[in-house]
Amino acid sequence: MSASRDRILAAAQANKPDELPLPEVPLFGGDATAERFASVLAGIGGTVVWLEGLGSLVPTLQQLFPEARNTASPLFRGTVPVDAQTSTGILAEIDLAVLPGEIGVAENGAVWLPEANMLHRALPTITQHLALVLDHRRIVATMHQAYAQLPGTGGYGKFVAGPSKTADIEQSLVIGAHGARSLVVLLY
């Protein structure tokens, strides 16, 4: 194995071209408004709902998801306590996960969700529905600005842009492939 490592590295060194410069990437400007974020997210199948404040989170969720029985969240007491040790069987029964997002990206509707906010790494995709709670002042214009603000990527983290979807059958868009069937971003 290490023989292959040495062979690959030696071949890469021998065959690479003369060194070329690494460009600096500007941050670029752009529209960082919540309105832009909301309209782009709507275009990819997600929804923005405004909260009057974090205090109205639970009643808003009850309105949006009246049928959700098994809920998990670090923001309020859900019906299912979830942590990194929660079994697959219990995770598979979650109807709604409500997780805090860290950064919103106006150009593509994505929200950065670090591992620390997920309760369990699988929760954001195994839940039937996902709601992300985001401070509207944390919306940036582009991915450059989002990456510039990330303190790091931790052990695991992801940008989530809309609900899980596929167009693998005749290019027909179907929302709800394997991950969450719907995505709501609750802005406050």
């Binding site: 071209p17 369990h120 195994i126 450059h144 600005q145 899980s164 693998d168 492939a177």
Partner: protein, 465 residues
């Protein structure tokens, strides 16, 4: 069998060919719409190109930086010189777990290495979890597109396949209901998966992490439920810095499908506590391509598929006609590096129109490389005798004014006198397979021009002294 013969098979169904052509062109139009919405898009292409060029020029150093960072994150790093070693490493990791159930998300590299048949042959259940890949896995077919693996199929085909394998109602062809059936079927596989294999879109030297982009969420679901994650990557997936992803995530999905970004852009950096993460770094001909100055830029590819969607030949010949893991224009410049003899016809499966180069988000000079591969293949005597001698003959004719003029005279007369059955004999005139020859003109342009009255001399403008 060459590309043209395999394309003939695809073209037998004219309606389907038209549908394939129009559907992929529609994806190209969606790409254009997304691209025009980003004022700095061309600047981003240039940045992406420069970042990739720089990375290739320090590839050995970045690979070592990546390895050290990944190991510091508690990730096991493996190196595979070729497909056989890649497969053996992965089987070994699975066996060490005593595992038999593997869930896989999309990876063109594992397709290239023929990992699935290898694992299945060794008693491992391998389930492809991307919907398109699951469909073709049921049908025992290869993907026909790197982003849209089942684009060669119609919903009725998928309905038949799911009826056979998933027990959906016979005749059911509604994409929503078929997708729901696959969701239920694959959920069970995700929950039971012991080892998850994923591809890699980007590997960040600075952090040692890998990034996987999906719309379905299948990579996240598989990896985060299994005990072990194995990520397979070619050496060219490296980028230097986390912030470089700002450039590549803005280009990838817009170029691929016209989306502003994939639904999930997932950063896997450390294994979850109590779990394992492995990264297999694969060469399989890539360092050889790096050593070919004319062709090394092909290693910049980020696998968006834009060159396929725009290619007039790909759209009308289908992915399977290329008989290579990566079809389309980019496949036609990658494949001769792997096996020049087998793939000798692919660089000719192009009109050299250059549309692939125009849409490439990392500015690979695809059509120039197609042209250069033709030269290499010609010198290596890897083109058919009829093409070789035909080209040599035409080269002579077109290089001589006199021979060209005589040839034209002969052709104009012969086309008028010879019977249609002979001039349009498809055995030697491929043009006539689906077309009529134009009516021969009475005279050539040069003959006509010579008969025109000489134009009166134009007054010369006075030049300042």
């Amino acid at each position: 069998m060459n590309h043209a013969i395999r394309a003939d098979k695809f073209l037998l169904d004219a309606d389907r060919t038209t549908w394939h052509d129009e559907t992929l062109w529609f994806v190209r139009e969606k790409r254009d719409k997304a691209v025009y919405g980003v004022p700095e898009f061309q600047e981003l292409r240039e940045l992406a190109s420069q970042i990739k060029n720089h990375t290739l020029s320090r590839l050995d150093l970045y690979l070592q930086e990546f390895e050290a960072a990944a190991q510091a994150n508690g990730v096991h790093v493996h190196w595979a010189a070729d497909a056989a070693e890649h497969n053996a490493i992965i089987l070994d990791i699975i066996r060490q777990q005593g595992a038999t159930r593997v869930v896989k998300s999309k990876s063109m590299l594992t397709e290239e290495c023929h990992l699935n048949p290898y694992l299945i042959q060794h008693g491992i259940e391998v389930v492809d979890t991307d919907l398109g890949e699951r469909i073709i896995q049921f049908r025992d077919e290869a993907p026909s597109h790197i982003v849209l693996p089942a684009i060669h199929l119609k919903k009725e085909d998928v309905g038949d396949t799911f009826h056979t394998h998933l027990g959906t109602t016979k005749g059911e062809s509604d994409p929503q209901r078929l997708t729901e059936a696959a969701r239920q079927h694959l959920r069970a596989k995700f929950l039971a998966g012991q080892v998850a294999i994923s591809g890699v879109n980007f590997a960040i030297a600075e952090t040692g992490g890998v990034v996987v982009c999906t719309n379905e969420g299948n990579a996240d679901l598989g990896v985060n439920l299994a005990q072990v994650h194995i990520a397979a990557m070619g050496i060219e997936k490296i980028i230097p810095r986390l912030t470089d992803l700002g450039v590549f995530t803005r280009l990838l999905a817009r170029s691929a499908t016209g989306q502003p970004v994939t639904t999930y852009t997932s950063h896997f950096t450390k294994p979850a506590p109590g779990k394992e993460m492995h990264i297999v770094i694969v060469d399989n001909g890539r360092t050889q391509q790096l050593g070919r100055p004319d062709f090394r830029a092909s290693l910049k590819c980020i696998r968006c598929g834009a060159c396929m969607n725009t290619c007039p030949v790909y759209r009308r010949s289908g992915g399977h006609s290329y008989d290579f893991t990566v079809p389309g224009p980019i496949g036609a410049i990658l494949s001769p590096n792997i096996d020049m003899k087998k793939h000798a016809s692919l660089p000719f499966a192009s009109t050299l129109c250059g549309s692939c180069t125009d849409v490439c988000p990392v500015k690979i000079d695809i059509h120039t490389q197609l042209y250069k591969w033709r030269q290499v293949l010609g010198e290596a005597n890897e083109i058919p005798a009829s093409k070789k001698w035909g080209m040599k003959f035409m080269g002579r004719v077109l290089a001589s004014t006199r021979v060209y003029g005589l040839g034209g005279q002969f052709a104009r007369r012969a086309l008028r006198l010879l019977p249609h059955g002979l001039t349009h004999a498809t055995s030697f005139n491929a043009w006539a397979v689906a077309r009529e020859l134009p009516a021969p003109p009475k005279q050539s342009f040069r003959e006509w021009y010579a008969k025109q009255p000489q134009p009166a001399p134009q007054p010369q403008p006075k030049l300042p002294a």
